[in-house]
């Protein structure tokens, strides 16, 4: 009984010590600091949705461009829809065939289509869509300001991450909307880097040119 009491006391002490060290280190670390009260995932309370923002349903400004994301429940069996719930969003999607056309379109060479890579810097440096700017949605900081400045006047901002179950591109789109970009200019590429590289599309390696 005495030893159980002692173990529980030690457990409490350990929890307090870990909490103090955890929050202390988190407060002083320069990279990877988590903001305790910031909702990185469910941002409904912080950012108005497409409809709440008074924006019309997604409309392509070129005939070959994508459509708004259909509700997942309509296209997936129930269990699968449940597992994919976290991938629901209300941004315009652009899929591989359309993206290839956009990439090869002269407007891309003219700088009118901006690609944003929402993966981590090391993955970006290994390979990314040529001309893409990197920005981590969890630590956007200066990169987000550069993207917003660069996005001024572009026709489309195309955001991607790894593809598959990766949600970082969705969160990046939210950051861009929060930063003032219009819903209509943002396109989400769900296939992501996996699909792009699997199809042996042009790639660029190395860090972003400053």
């Amino acid at each position: 009984m005495q030893s159980t009491k002692r173990a529980l006391l030690d457990l409490g002490l350990l929890a307090v010590l870990s909490t103090a060290i955890g929050f202390g280190v988190n407060a002083i670390r320069t990279r990877g600091a988590i903001k305790p009260n910031y909702n990185y995932f469910n941002r409904a309370a912080q950012a108005p949705s497409r409809a709440e923002n008074g924006v019309s349903p997604a409309k392509a400004n070129l005939p070959f461009l994508g459509q708004a994301n259909p509700p997942m429940d309509e296209v997936l069996p129930v269990t699968q829809a449940e597992n994919k719930k976290h991938l629901q969003h209300d941004y315009q999607e652009i899929h591989f065939p359309e993206l290839v056309k956009v990439f090869q379109d002269p407007t891309t060479a003219q700088g009118l289509n901006l690609f944003v890579d929402a993966r981590k810097p090391d993955l970006y440096e290994e390979g990314h869509i040529p001309g893409a700017m990197q920005c981590d949605p969890y630590e956007p900081d200066d990169a987000l300001s550069s993207i917003v400045a660069r996005a001024n006047g572009v026709e489309r901002v195309i955001v991607y991450c790894g593809g598959g179950d990766c949600e970082d591109s969705i969160f990046m789109c939210r950051e861009l909307v929060d930063a003032g970009l219009s819903y209509d200019s943002i396109f989400l590429y769900p296939g992501g880097w996996n699909e792009w590289s699997t199809n042996k599309m042009p790639a660029q390696a190395g860090a972003e040119a400053q």
Partner: protein, 167 residues
Amino acid sequence: MRGSHYWLRRLDDSGVPLLIARIILAGTFIYMGSMKLGEPFDFLKQVRLYHLLPETPPIYLNATAIVLPWMEIVAGVALLIGLRFRGAAAAIALMLLVFTPAILIRALHIQAEVGGSFFDVVFDCGCGSGPVTIWTKLLGNVGLLTLALLALISRSRKLCLSNWPAR
């Protein structure tokens, strides 16, 4: 005639089983905690995928991602040096008791979605070791839980800082 309890007691008194358990647990949890600290947002994303905590208000998820890696490291160090190590073993047992069933449930969901054998299910469980074959992870966790329980019930205090100077 001496029963098996006598030999178990003798073995425990030697301090060897406890020492082995402490070293394995400490090594494992200090390593895994450090890996999580290196990529805090990856860990935050993984914790969220277990649906154990609400996303709103965000403090629950974020605080877990901030504190849990340090909990593992502090518990690992306490076990290694043998100071307040029963509390550390209790903390580790508690973490394993929460996350092992959660990993199992997530693996079953993934299996239901993808199909195929349960033994082929591979994903990053957020444990700090990257993508792993889940059945081996679950087996490993059961082994770690056994060691944590051993550290909790052992009466030995040999080679423990809490026993210094030797009493």
